[in-house]
Assembly symmetry: C2
């Protein structure tokens, strides 16, 4: 049994707890939280422990899965926990990945651990697809589309507008752009051509709806470069119809192997729950980290360093016989 620890118990942590139930070779040993442990009710028999006591669990946990956020939790917890455990995390601030890698790598090497950073679906499976497809079709163009799915960052941006009670923002890939991405001419697609944004907003009773809508659609970085539609609905409707966190997307490589010979590779996801799927990716990679650590691998690694066979509960001979 692979003994798993969880650092953090938000949507992602709860998803890992679910995922472990689908993997009979794993067991959840403990959930570490910065909240008061007695305030946390979890869905399994694992211990609930204060994050302050995490160092005492060295030797009890094979792989620590980090479920904190990339903005403030992981930059601190990533290196800290890599000095105590083999780890898996989903650090997703793209621009800061090189420095995050260095800080985790230093601690992991210092204390003889293995740490997989930036795992999930993007970064993660989408990243693998881009490298795999680009290596096979070096003469080609990449297209990534996200959605239809909820963007938490965009939903939060709307919630900060005065007069807004709550909001949900869906990122929607434009069907015509997906088709165009597969065309022989490999078109350059603008931000506006690729995605549109759809907002569902519950506003206060006397709020100026026209003003809220204008603030949204003109918001720089978040909405100004997109075609955005705003729908005002009641808070009851918002909770009833927009409580889930679906997401998904496409990575398309449109390449050519000789003149005029078009080859298209595509990876796509259609997810009822973004956090549960991301959690399932982390869980499968926890198995790989467990095995690679047993094989003596140390330091920080990314999904690019993990052979796919390491993710599977089946051994190499079975995989060759049944899946190759």
């Amino acid at each position: 049994m692979i003994r798993i620890g969880l650092a953090g118990y938000g949507n992602l942590g709860k998803g890992v707890e679910q995922a472990i139930k689908k993997n009979p070779d794993m067991e959840l040993i403990a959930v570490f939280t910065r909240r008061d442990p007695s305030s946390l009710t979890i869905s399994s028999d694992a211990a609930v422990v204060s994050y302050n006591d995490v160092s005492k669990w060295q030797g009890e946990i094979d792989i620590m899965i980090l479920c904190g956020g990339s903005a403030t939790d992981l930059p601190e917890q990533g290196p800290e926990l890599a000095s105590m455990f083999h780890t898996v995390d989903s650090f997703d601030t793209h621009a800061r990945i090189p420095e995050y890698f260095e800080s985790v790598n230093t601690k992991a090497l210092e204390k003889d651990h293995l740490s997989l950073i930036s795992c999930g679906w993007d970064p993660g499976l989408f990243s693998i697809s881009r490298v795999l497809f680009g290596s096979i079709l070096p003469d080609g163009a990449d297209y990534t589309f996200w959605g239809r799915g909820v963007s938490q960052g965009h939903s939060d941006a709307i919630r900060r507008i005065p007069g807004v009670i709550d909001a949900r923002q869906y990122t929607i890939p434009v069907a015509e752009a997906i088709e165009a991405a597969k065309g022989k001419d490999r078109p350059a697609l603008t931000t506006r051509q690729k995605h549109k944004r759809e907002c569902f907003v519950a506003a206060e009773e006397n709020a100026d709806l026209a003003e809220i809508e204008k603030t949204i659609v003109e918001m720089p970085n978040y909405f100004a470069d997109y075609d955005t539609t705003v729908n005002f609905i009641s808070i009851e409707e918002l909770k009833r119809d927009h409580d889930a966190l679906p997401h998904g997307g496409f990575v398309i490589r449109n390449g050519e192997t000789s003149s005029g010979c078009s080859q298209i590779a595509q990876f796509s996801l259609q997810l009822d729950s973004n956090p549960e799927f991301t959690a399932s990716v982390l869980t499968a990679y926890a198995r790989a980290v467990y095995r690679m650590a047993q094989d003596g691998k140390r330091g920080a690694i990314s999904v690019f360093d993990v052979p796919v066979g390491m993710l599977s509960p089946f051994d190499a001979a079975s995989l060759r016989r049944d899946f190759l």
Copy 2:
């Protein structure tokens, strides 16, 4: 520069020759053929050499890519060339992969080489998708669809019928079945539901067309379990409209991460040229074999053993910065 040798110069070998032109870190050194070398005109400056002299090229070639057929060429050449070179091949007789692996592994280990077997898109990329998706979504069902594309085996089966001059058979995935594969009920789909077969046949002048059609649609193993349509056309039309070798397909994993929470992962290919794409996969994996051999890896391996980063011309730090 990675120095490549080619064993075999059919459609696949020609495809590798094209692929190498797209990869500036590789050069084609020599093509080895069982035909009279002077009878072969190739599209590059490489040497054309009799297969009988292949052993003399040890030390001149880093990776030998095997482009022979799985029925008779590879069972002999696979182990033979693994004793002389690091190799990559596309052995695709699924049922015989375990024994083929053993025979190549024995020779490769004996002579200190690394050999990647059964590479391409199926086996190959499709196999990777099945293992990746199944590891992430252990509670789920797999669906593989092939096409629309030319099946050489089925085309050959038609050509053996008396009265047939030439033929082309297209395997066509049924759109409704692809949709059904993504349904919450994870339906069991029959052979007939998943694919249909479309045949274009050029017959001799006085041939009994009704008899040929009956022989095709009732042919056991090849056509009897499918809905098959037969179109008789002239040999000129056949050559004009059906000379290409397009193919493609889908690997779909329809899984659930918690009760009622559906998660769908899909990998798909849409290929103008099946042999050129397969060749491009072999070429990218040749780079990985070159590097893994430099790192000291020996014996036979499959695509399941290769980290995706090894396929790329970019180094690990660049991949993390630009693709993660």
